[in-house]
């Protein structure tokens, strides 16, 4: 750990990725995260690493796919419309078992929408998005510091499971200036080309082929079952969440990312008035922390889910609650960010306040 530096979220995330060992960046400009690729374009050449502005997000993700096939730590960053274009690549990457990191600074949609912060890509990120049965690990930081720490986890998880890791942020986190402290630089000199990588056969006795194609259904089913096995392992050991003031809570707010951060202020307002409410903040959106929701079901009177969308994580909260307690929802749409007061007021309505 070094000293604290005041940095904008959208630049800090790039610096963190670089220190975490990102050896290549391929991407295409899109607001609200243009500072991120711009930062990479300055820093990567300084370090002798790869930066390339692709002709589109379609090309960018396929460049990422190519680099991932060589076992190189590779990243792209984009925002919602760009992420939609990348879905084909995500699906191929999933069924090729190659590692990479993708940052989505979500903005208001659907369509061209706007450039304001949103959380409306939750379904797309956590349930697949592209075609076929697949998942990516999805991480949702709620501060600039957490976002920076998470870039190390993102690359480590990607390599550990040979999977795509999505870091889901929004324009608010990107525009925020906060003091951050970076973890130690990853030892990139120690990186070796993995034995499965397609870089030319060289001295290897076998040749490597990376493909998502398996034309016989009985073989493709086996390939799918292996993927599912990987997902079950991830669901078992990689779930992360934060519980905030939950010990004595009678009510729970569920929220992720920026909304969770705002909701912490709402909780403190409530607590000043003697209302015992806490927060469950999923940090991994996939795998989702169903178990902690189940654990708290008997303790609390109801769940109150807050998101900057029309109720997406809400479905996972309900799965965890399984009908045992009411689950209420408050959401803002189209790039509108709720205030702490607004959340508190909406919450109080449910307890009859």
């Amino acid at each position: 750990m070094g000293e604290k530096i005041l940095m904008k979220g959208s630049e800090a995330i790039a610096e963190a990725a670089i220190r975490a060992g990102a050896m290549a960046f391929y991407g295409y400009p899109i607001t609200p995260q243009n500072e991120t690729p711009e930062y990479f374009s300055r820093r990567m050449p300084e370090l002798g690493r790869t930066y390339l502005q692709a002709e589109s997000e379609v090309a960018a993700i396929n460049m990422v796919y190519g680099a991932a096939c060589t076992g190189t730590r590779v990243i792209t960053t984009s925002s919602s419309p760009g992420i939609s274009l990348m879905q084909e690549g995500f699906s191929y990457i999933a069924n090729s078992d190659v590692p990479c990191v993708v940052v989505n600074a979500m903005r208001g949609g659907p369509g061209l929408g706007d450039i304001a912060p949103a959380q409306a890509d939750y379904f797309q990120a956590t349930k697949g998005g592209g075609h076929g049965d697949y998942h990516s690990i999805v991480l949702a930081p709620h501060t600039v510091q957490e976002q920076c720490d998470m870039m190390y986890d993102a690359f480590d998880l990607a390599d550990k499971y040979r999977i795509m890791v999505v870091v889901l942020v929004d324009g608010l986190l990107g525009q925020m200036m906060e003091p951050v402290e970076f973890k130690d630089w990853a030892d990139v000199k120690s990186y070796k080309t993995p034995d499965w990588a397609t870089v030319g056969q060289g001295e290897r006795s076998n040749r490597n082929i990376i493909t998502s194609l398996e034309i016989l259904p009985e073989d493709l089913e086996k390939m799918n079952l292996k993927l599912q096995e990987k997902y079950r392992t991830i669901e078992e050991i990689e779930v992360r969440f934060e519980e905030y003031k939950m010990d004595d809570a009678e009510y729970v707010i569920t929220a992720f990312g920026t909304t969770a951060r705002i909701a912490k202020t709402s909780v403190n307002m409530a607590r000043k008035e003697g209302i015992r409410v806490g927060i469950i903040r999923p940090i991994t959106l996939y795998p989702f922390p169903y178990a902690v929701i189940e654990k708290r079901v008997n303790q609390v009177k109801f769940f109150f889910d807050v998101e900057m969308n029309a109720g997406q994580m809400l479905e996972d909260v309900r799965l965890g609650v399984n009908g045992k307690k009411p689950v209420y929802f408050y959401g803002r749409l189209g790039g509108m960010v709720p205030t702490a007061e607004e959340i508190y007021t909406a919450f109080k309505k449910q307890i009859g306040g």
Binding site: N62, Y65, I209
Partner: protein
């Protein structure tokens, strides 16, 4: 018995999935021989396309990846930029390269990516049953131009090497044909020049190979070679359209 002719070692023992008389086999052979003669086999990663040659990695025995339809040049770029010492080539059909993947192709060429593309022009989409491709000739009947390709409805055939030759990024841009022994010998020379452009890090290189599709053209292999010679080559002439200094 004396062995006087055999398949290149780089080609596997596997039977190909190609139709009888399909020139994909000739193209595979020329590539394999060239990789061997230029001592590139162990450094090579081939990016295979979606199309009839989607299983190409079963037949040419190098490291390989299988791209999404049209994305081969982007994937090859991704590999080559982080592994410049690898020899990276794409093998693509005319639907894959000139239709769905034209942006990836043009931009890889414009950037002068140090990759090589072998582009098989068979005038239609073979794998999906013979639909119109960007290279389909005016008047040509395909399953989606049942009345023949009409300019007012379907536009005109695309000349990819001629287009790419207007860019500064490519080091070598050529078109060859696979319809006769002389043309095949010439095609191999062009392929080797394209490979040398990459080996010398001079820039992007591409060779279009005018091919045939007996099954979907509904012709015998011999008839389709004759059609290639009489009808296709006048529209898609053999030639070297851009050769920068150092390519040999």
């Amino acid at each position: 018995m004396k062995l006087i002719y055999k398949a290149p070692d780089t080609m596997t023992e596997k039977d190909t999935t190609y139709c009888p008389g399909c020139p994909h086999g000739i193209a595979h052979r020329l590539i394999s021989e060239s990789l061997e003669e230029m001592n590139l086999v162990k450094k090579t990663v081939i990016v295979w396309p979606v199309g009839c040659s989607v299983f190409g990695y079963y037949f040419i025995g190098t490291d390989a990846v299988e791209a999404a339809h049209g994305r081969a040049c982007a994937m090859a770029t991704g590999i080559k930029r982080v592994h410049p010492e690898s020899f990276v080539m794409t093998y693509q059909g005319d639907g894959d390269l000139a239709s769905i993947g034209i942006a990836e192709t043009v931009h890889a060429a414009a950037r002068g990516e140090k990759i090589t593309t072998i582009f098989i022009n068979n005038g239609n989409y073979g794998m999906t049953g013979g639909q119109m491709a960007p290279t389909t000739l005016i008047g040509q009947v395909t399953t989606t131009t049942p009345y023949g390709r009409k300019p007012e409805a379907n536009g005109f055939p695309m000349h990819v090497p001629e287009m790419l030759a207007t860019l500064d990024g490519p080091a070598y841009v050529a078109r060859a044909a696979l319809d006769s022994p002389q043309h095949i010998i010439q095609a191999k020379k062009f392929i080797q020049k394209a490979f040398s452009a990459q080996a010398k890090r001079l820039g992007f290189s591409i060779v279009e190979l005018v091919s045939t599709c007996p099954t979907n053209w509904k012709m015998t292999p011999v008839e389709s070679m004759e059609r290639a010679r009489k009808e296709v080559l006048p529209v898609f002439p053999i030639g070297e359209f851009r050769v920068i200094k150092g390519v040999e």
